[in-house]
Amino acid sequence: MNKSRQIEIWVGLFMAIGFVALFFLAMQVSNLGTAYTGDTFRVTARFDNIGGLKVKARVTIAGVEVGQVTEIHYDPDDFRAVVEMGLQSQYLNRIPDDSFAKILTAGLLGEQYVGLDPGGSEDTLADGSEISVTQSALVLEEVVGQFIFGKGQEGKQ
């Protein structure tokens, strides 16, 4: 009886540890724990080039996360990428509508995210608004290309 009780306790402990580990992986290691689950409002922005931006990437203002990229698609009419973002509803009508959306990279090798630079307008972003001023992702090949091209031009002059 005593021994079988011990076995039960150990097995219970084992299951608990296992599920704690699974919970840890889900909440602490993956993006599930960082996902904002409250209400959001939708804002879109058009970029010439989104680089490696992916759905669920962070949207930040001054480095603080305020939302997530919810959808990315290509608009064949104006040849640009449309990025839909879900911003946390506490910021509804709090962000100027002339804010500047940039696609940034965390560190040299890190993941890409959207950074918003607040503008000075009186009007604010509401559900369904579009951010008109955008800056595309920095694509390394293009930067390098421009650099070499620039050097070439310099040499000619």
Binding site: M15, Q28, V29, S30, T34, A106
Partner: protein, 258 residues
Amino acid sequence: MIELFAQLGGWGMQALTRLGRAHLLLLPLLRGGLDILRRPRLLVDQLFSVGVLTILIIAVAGLFVGMVLGLQGYYILSRFGGETALGLMVAASLVRELGPVLTALLFAGRAGSALTAEIGLMKATEQLSGLEMMAVNPQYRILAPRFFAGIVSVPLLAALFSMLGVMGGWMVGGGMLGVDKAAFWNGMQGGIDFHEDIVNGVIKSVVFGVVCTWIAIFQGYDCVPTSEGVSRATTRTVVHSSLAVLGLDFVLTAMMFS
């Protein structure tokens, strides 16, 4: 020359019949799951010998693998100034690959071989025949609880392995090498997707659990009931399980992450 072909053919036939017997065993194993629902006590006892007794080796291995990953990753990434990606690198390699695969390999060595030896000895000492003559089906009463205990244990052990690995990586990266804490964890959380990485990793380890336990149980049940037969079967369990895990890992990875 012809003899060689005849021998190869003979081995092929032997392997095929064995494969067939292994699959025939699967049905009673699953059917035995019904008995477990009625008597969960059978499963609890096996969870102890299959799962609990494997915790220590998994925990120690996970911690050290994570620490090595932290160290190696740091040296490689710091060459490119990419230390911030250390957390992501450690976590991704653990959650996607090393956690499930190394856990399954260690499980085959620790619990799988023990299962084969136990069942093989029960066969050699006529305990299984004895159960049959007592009108108790050993496939339901002995094999099925062990099978399900393995299936439950491996994913939990793999999760434990990955968790301790991430912690080990953090201890080395954050504690010893001074990687920024926020960068470590944010990079990890930004790069690891719950469905794509965690869930797929768990699916992998469930598959490995099924395969390793199945092989172990089959080898024990199918062994030649002598001491030599049992020891051969034990070796076969470890070899077959390891190969099956590595092969299946490639297939699963190709299916999931491509």
